[in-house]
Symmetry: C2
Subunit: 576 residues, 2 copies
C-alpha cells in the first residue's frame, strides 16, 4: 500500500482525556477516531489489526470445534423478560422502542438470543453437545467510558455459548475454551494470567478471567508467584492471617474517642495499632441491615460480602441509616449490644484479642472487646479484601496484587438461562432436562489495546508480527529525489510480487518525519531507501525494536526482507 493513496494520518495533538497509553498511541498513529464518548471508528490501519485479531480468534475457536454464527445487535425485550434480566440489568443496557412502540435493546451480550435459538432446534441429547460463537458488535452504556477501546460503549466481542447434556460435558467445553484462549493470547504476544473471578450479574457456578497485567488495567488481580494461584481481587481469598501475640482477654471497658471516626484516628487517640481495632461497617441490602466486621488494617470486599449474603443489592448505609440502625452517628458503629442488625465477622476478627470497637455512642469506643464473649460471632465469612503480602490460600506464600486488563472471561452458566427460558432436551431415559450452558467472552478491541499496553516504548508501538497491520514498512527517505523514488518503487513492486504486505511511505515528507511516523506506527520490519547508503549502492534494513539500520547491497534488500518476513510468519506461536 502506498501511503500517498492510503487513508492514514498520524496526529500530533491528541485530546487530554486520552488517558491510557494504548488509547493515546492508537489516536496518534491514526488507527482510531472518536465519534462520541466510548464510540469509535476503526480507521483503516486500526481495522487491519482488528481483522488479524479476529482471524486468530476464529482459527483457535474453530480448532476447538466451536461453530460460528451471527446474531443481531437489536434484541426484543420479550427474551430479556423471559430470563428476568430486563428488570435486573442496570442502565448499561441501552433500551429503546421501535416505531411500533415495542421494547428492544442493543445487545450487550447474547445469552437470551442464543438460548431461544437452541431451544427451538434441539430436542434430544443426541443433538448435544455444541459450542456456538460469533464475532459481533455490542453496546454497553457505560456511565464513564474511558481508556479508548478498553472501556468503550460500542465494541467488538467474540462471544461463545456451549450447550451440553451435563456438567461433565460443560467441563470439557470449559477446558477447550481455556486452551483456545491461551493459544489466542499467546499468538497475540500477550503475557497473561488466568484468574478465578466472581460470577457477577451473568450468574452461574464458576468463572475465570484472562488478565493481561498492565498498569492501566482497571482490575486488581491477586496472584501467587510460588504456586500460580490467581484471582480477581473481587473474588480472591487468602490463607489465615497471622495473629498477634497470645494475650488473656481483659474486661470490657469504655474509652472516650472524641472526633475519632476512622481507624487511623482511633488508633492515634487510643495509641493502638490498627490490627487491634475491629472495624464495623454498616451495609444495607434489599432485606436488612448488615454489620460487616474486619480487622482494622483490612478492608471489606463488597463483592465477597454480597455473595456471602446472597443479596441482590448491597450498599454502604447512609449516615442517617447508620443512626437508625445503631443509634449513633457513623464512625462509632460496633457489634457490642447491637440489636436488629445481622453481624458478619470476617475470619480476621476472630484472631483479635482485646479489640477496640465502636460503642454505638457518639465519641466513644469499647476497649478489650472480644468476639463470642461480647458479640455474636456465629456468622464468620471471608469478606476481606486481599492485599499484597497476604498468604496465598493454596500454598501460604505471600501473594501480590497487580493491575490487570480483562481480555477474556469464561463462565459455567449451568442451567441458569436454560431453566428460565425452557431450553430443555430429552435425555437417554426420555426425561426432560434443562441444557447445561457455558459462556465465553473475548474483547477484540480490548485485546488490541492490551497488546499495545504491553508492546510500546516512548516513541510508539512495537507490534508483534502476528498483529502488525502490515508486514513491512518501506521508506523512501527523500521521495523528491528521482533515484531514490525509482529504487524505492522497484523494491516496493518486488516485495509485493513476493506476497509481502508492505506499507510504502512514498509521501513528500522529510526523512525525519517518516522515521518518526515509522516509530509511532511500530511495524516490526523496516526497509529504508535513500541518502548516503543509496549513493553507495546500498539499502537499509532495520527492526523497530533495535532501530539500528543494517546497510546491504541494494540488490539484496528484497531477499533479506523476505527472509525476515518468512521468519516472522514462522515465529507466530500456535496453540499447544
Amino acid at each position: 500500500m502506498r501511503w500517498s493513496s492510503y487513508f492514514l494520518h498520524t496526529v500530533r495533538e491528541i485530546p487530554a482525556d486520552a488517558d491510557a497509553i494504548s488509547h493515546r498511541l492508537m489516536l496518534r498513529a491514526g488507527m482510531l477516531e472518536k465519534v462520541a464518548a466510548g464510540i469509535y471508528t476503526y480507521l483503516p490501519l486500526g481495522l487491519r489489526v482488528i481483522k488479524k485479531v479476529e482471524a486468530i480468534v476464529r482459527e483457535e475457536m474453530n480448532r476447538e470445534g466451536a461453530i460460528e454464527l451471527l446474531m443481531p445487535a437489536v434484541q426484543p425485550a420479550e427474551l430479556w423478560e423471559e430470563s428476568g434480566r430486563w428488570d435486573r440489568y442496570g442502565r448499561e443496557l441501552l433500551r429503546f422502542k421501535d416505531r411500533h412502540d415495542r421494547d428492544f435493546c442493543f445487545g450487550p451480550t447474547h445469552e437470551e438470543v442464543v438460548t431461544a435459538t437452541v431451544r427451538g432446534r434441539v430436542a434430544s441429547y443426541r443433538q448435544l453437545p455444541f459450542n456456538l460463537y460469533q464475532i459481533q458488535t455490542k453496546f454497553r452504556d457505560e456511565i464513564r467510558p474511558r481508556f479508548g477501546l478498553m472501556r468503550g460503549r460500542e465494541f467488538i466481542m467474540k462471544d461463545a455459548y456451549s450447550f451440553d447434556k451435563d456438567e461433565a460435558g460443560l467441563a470439557i467445553h470449559y477446558e477447550k475454551m481455556i486452551r483456545a484462549y491461551g493459544a489466542i493470547f499467546r499468538r497475540c504476544g500477550l503475557d497473561f494470567v488466568i484468574v478465578e473471578s466472581d460470577v457477577g450479574a451473568i450468574g452461574g457456578a464458576s468463572a475465570h478471567e484472562f488478565m493481561v497485567l498492565a498498569e492501566t488495567g482497571e482490575d486488581a488481580v491477586a496472584r501467587c508467584a510460588a504456586c500460580g494461584y490467581g484471582a480477581n481481587v473481587e473474588k480472591a481469598t487468602t490463607g489465615d492471617l497471622t495473629a498477634g501475640e497470645p494475650e488473656a482477654p481483659a474486661a470490657l471497658g469504655r474509652a472516650a474517642t472524641p472526633g475519632a471516626k476512622s481507624v487511623e484516628a482511633v488508633a492515634k487517640v487510643l495509641n493502638v495499632a490498627p490490627p487491634r481495632i475491629v472495624k464495623t461497617l454498616i451495609f444495607e441490602t434489599e432485606k436488612e441491615f448488615v454489620a460487616a466486621l474486619v480487622r482494622g488494617d483490612l478492608d471489606v470486599n463488597e463483592v465477597k460480602l454480597r455473595n456471602h449474603l446472597g443479596a441482590e443489592h448491597l450498599r454502604l448505609a447512609s449516615d442517617a441509616k447508620v443512626l437508625e440502625a445503631t443509634g449513633a452517628p457513623a464512625g462509632y458503629s460496633g457489634p457490642v449490644g447491637l440489636a436488629g442488625v445481622r453481624i458478619v465477622n470476617d475470619r480476621s476478627v476472630l484472631r483479635v484479642v482485646n479489640a477496640v470497637v465502636g460503642a454505638n455512642a457518639h465519641d466513644e469506643h469499647f476497649v478489650n472487646a472480644n468476639a463470642g464473649r461480647d458479640w455474636d460471632d456465629s456468622e464468620v465469612a471471608d469478606i476481606a479484601r486481599a492485599r499484597t503480602g497476604d498468604p496465598c490460600p493454596r500454598c501460604g506464600e505471600p501473594i501480590e496484587i497487580a493491575r490487570g486488563i480483562e481480555v477474556g472471561n469464561i463462565f459455567k452458566l449451568g442451567t441458569k438461562y436454560s431453566s428460565s427460558m425452557g431450553c430443555t432436551f430429552l435425555d437417554e431415559n426420555g426425561e426432560s432436562r434443562p441444557v447445561v450452558m457455558g459462556c465465553y467472552g473475548l474483547g477484540i478491541g480490548r485485546t488490541m489495546a492490551a497488546v499495545i499496553e504491553q508492546h510500546h516504548d516512548d516513541d510508539g508501538i512495537l507490534w508483534p508480527a502476528a498483529l502488525s497491520p502490515f508486514e513491512a514498512h518501506l521508506i523512501a527517505m527523500n521521495s523528491n529525489d528521482p533515484t531514490t523514488r525509482e529504487e524505492a518503487d522497484r523494491v516496493y513492486e518486488e516485495l509485493r510480487s513476493k506476497g509481502i504486505d508492505v506499507l510504502y511511505d512514498d509521501r513528500d515528507e522529510r526523512a525525519g518525519v517518516k522515521f518518526k511516523d515509522a516509530d509511532l506506527l511500530g511495524l516490526p520490519l523496516r526497509i529504508q531507501i535513500g541518502g548516503r547508503s543509496l549513493k553507495e549502492g546500498k539499502a537499509e534494513i532495520a527492526f523497530r525494536k533495535l532501530r539500528t539500520p543494517e546497510p546491504l547491497p541494494k540488490e539484496q534488500v528484497v531477499e533479506a526482507a523476505a527472509a525476515a518476513v518468512r521468519e516472522a510468519r514462522r515465529e507466530v506461536p500456535v496453540s499447544a
Copy 2:
C-alpha cells in the same frame, strides 16, 4: 464438517408469512432464524454464504483501490443535525437516548460519520482522492419488514464513500464502482441490469441501481431490449407517445356525469376512450396545492412530480382538501377555471384534442376542452408513469416493465454533505472548496437472497459454486452400515486432506431424508456412498443441477470430486 457435530437443522414447517422463495428456502435450509420482525440470526450455514459474499465484495472493492474502515452503528444526533437529516429523515431512523439523555440513532447509512472523519483529516487537494468503504450492520426501522433478508430492519451492508476535488474525479470513482459492482454480481452468479434511479432522500446529482430481475422484486424497472436503456420506474422517462387522429378543436361544453368519478366511469358514461380524457389529480406539498394532469390512460408518477416541483413532501390531497382547492368533491377536478392551484401538465396532455376534463362541479365534466385555450399549459413536465409498450426515450422501441431486486445503488452526492458539514479542502490556488462526494451501497444479505431467487428449483437451492456454503456434500447413505460408514469416513478424510471444504452427512437418518436435505441445501457437488453401488465397489458423484448420480470405482471418487472442485474454483468469473 460432520453434520452430526454441526449446528444445522432443516425445517419442515415454516411460517406462513415467509412470502419470498428465498426467504422460505433460507428458513427451510436452516440458514436463518427470525428473532423479531425484520431481525434475524444468520445460522452457521447461512453465515458461510454471507462470508463468501463479503469476501468477493472486499476483493473487488480493494481491486478498485477502495480502502476499508469500520464506523460505529451508534451515531450521535449532532452529526445528523449538521447535515439537516435529523429532522428530515423519517421514522425509519431508529432514534434513542443514552443514559445521559443524549440523542443517538442506529445508523441506517454513514454519510454524516464519514464526512466528519474526513473533514478532520483532509486539508489539501494533495490528500485527495480516496474511497472509503466498510461492511457493517445497519438498521432501518421499516414499517413493514418482509421477504426475509430482502427487506429486513437490521442488515449487513457494504457502503463506500468517495472523496474528490472535482466532478471529474467523482466520475472516475463512479466508473470504478460500476466496474466493481459488475464484477461482484457476476461472480455471485447474478443476472442483473444497471438502471438510472431517483436520487431520493440521499440527494445528489445522479444515481444508478443494480437490479436483479425476479418476480419477488419490490422495484419496477423499465428496460429497452433494443438499446439497453434501463431505469427504475420511479425515474423512467419515455419517448413521445403517439397522438390520436388529427382533429379540429371544438367548442367547450358541459356534460352531466352523475356518479362518474373515475376515468373508467367517465369513459363509460360519455362513451369516449380513456386517452380522450385528461385526468386531474390534486396534490398537496409543503407550499401549495398542485393539479397534476395526465392523459386518462396514464398514471402520475409521484416521484417524478415531486422532483419536478422540488418539493420536500408531496401527497394526494384528502377529499376535504380537494373540496377546499377546487370547490367540488374529489373525482370532478379539472384545470378549466381552476384558480389558486398550480397546474402541471404531463407532456401527454398536450396531445389530447377535445379532451374530457372534470368541471370542478359535482357530477359534471367539460367536453372538448383544450390545453392552452381552456387552461394554462405553460408548465409542462414528464410526470407520467412509464408502461410496458411505451417508446424508449433513447431509441423509440417499446420498453418493458419488469420486477427487480435492488442489490446495489450508487449516487453522485456532489457537495451536498461536504457543504453542509464543512468538509472542505484548499485547492491548487489555495482556495477553500467543499469535497465532491459519491456514495455506493451494496446489500450483502439482499445479494444472498437475490442469488437464491435466481438459482433454485422446486426442491431447493442451486448454489453457484462461488457462494456455496461448502464445496461438496458427502452422503453416507446408511450410516448404520459399518462398511458404508467406514468408506464414507475414509472419503471424508481424504477430501479434507485435499483442502476441500466438505459437508459430511453422517447423521443416523434414512437415505431418502438425506437426499431431500441435500436438494434443499443445494451444494453443487454431491458424493454418495452406500447401497448397491458400494456393494459393487462403487461410489457415486452427482451434481445438484442434474441429480443423476454417476457411479465410479470407489477408489476414483475422491480424485473425481477434487477435479470437479478445481473446475468450480476456476469457473468463478472474475472482474473484466
